[in-house]
Symmetry: C2
Subunit: 226 residues, 2 copies
Amino acid sequence: MQPASSNVIENRIIQAVLSEEISPGERLGEKDLGEIFGVSRTLVREAMMRLSSRGIVAVSPRRGWFVIEPTVEEARETIEARRSVEIGLLMTQKNISAEMIKQLEAHVLEQQRAIDENDLGRRSYLLGHFHVHLAAALGNSILANILEELTTRIVLIATLYQSKADAQQSCDNHRRLVSALRKNKVKDAVKIMDAHLTHLDKALSIRKKMKPRSADQLRGKASFVP
Amino acid sequence: MQPASSNVIENRIIQAVLSEEISPGERLGEKDLGEIFGVSRTLVREAMMRLSSRGIVAVSPRRGWFVIEPTVEEARETIEARRSVEIGLLMTQKNISAEMIKQLEAHVLEQQRAIDENDLGRRSYLLGHFHVHLAAALGNSILANILEELTTRIVLIATLYQSKADAQQSCDNHRRLVSALRKNKVKDAVKIMDAHLTHLDKALSIRKKMKPRSADQLRGKASFVP
DNA sequence: GTATTCTATCTGGTATACAAGATTCGCCGA
DNA sequence: TCGGCGAATCTTGTATACCAGATAGAATAC
């Protein structure tokens, strides 16, 4: 394994979370990750520090780093935060270029393909990252960053609480959203987004407990290796 | 100087930025900070990693860490991001308790006092943190965190571009905002917020160049020491 | 006097060393 | 068989060592 920078580690872990390769509550040992990425604990630690700042992992003193397991309360707050940000994003957007609409439509098609091909990791990744693309398309990279943070947490929440928001429905919502944007019907877009998140929020009531995987299993995941 | 954890360092630096004790472009050397806080470079580095993840500082390889100097484009994006978040926040809020209204009013009074007493650092700090309190009052700590990040950057932007949004006007806007919230006039609140940010955005055109202070001067600032 | 090159020094980048708390597991006793 | 106790081990916490790139300043050439 050739060495990787701490940035690479950080991004790889976010990607792994979005692809559901890593589950909430999973332990991420510094030593293990160092071996996987071929670097010393120092770089792993840097990546963890940034990830913890983004609310993806948290450290338990002298026990290890763990992927966060949001409580129901935190889950609701995250969904509400996303609702605020996304609705604000839609309401304050001025004009969206035809080029961007096309990109978003292409992204939705990719999502559909991942669903059809039953590519679970890619499916989860694309469905989550659609909203990041949306913010970027509306011309604000800062909001895109914020949304990446929030959607990553949402994926963890969805995994943890087994929200049954099935992929096809999410994809359909995205399609309708882009369609509304193409017609410049902002109000419709807001409604679709609002309903989408309300659905997610409702699905949260069904709790499901997960058994955390051990770090050893993680090492076995070939795809986790960059 | 007794040792401090990396968390303390991080918070202290954010506070220093909010209080305008630290200017954009200022160099923050690992060695210097380590001496100031009485710790090794390791802990300073951890704090810097998290601050960079929050977009407050950036590293120039083998040269040092610097407080970010947003370009005009980034400044506009930050203001737009804040507009989205704050408007979304106001629009999706359900009910705000009388208790919270009181807290916000008390905060506005504190702001006024800082203005009257000409306490510049405290003034800057309170005016910026009002929005963080607002998000917290509306019951979402995640949005509060996001807003802390954004307002910190806004302070840097205001310093850099010498936006003449004078303190008294900001405070008045805050007072009007809380008043609208008390009367449950959400639309008015949104309007006030929107106008406030538009004003900030307009003021951005007047560019002002700053000369960065050296780290030695920073060391001299007794108040920077925890 | 000015431009240039070379070197001493400073800075961050990364790995490693060592300390101390947490965990595990075996041993012992009841 | 079950529960408690202790040492061995594992994990993060923090400091330090060493490297390489960047910088500044002096010496040199013109």
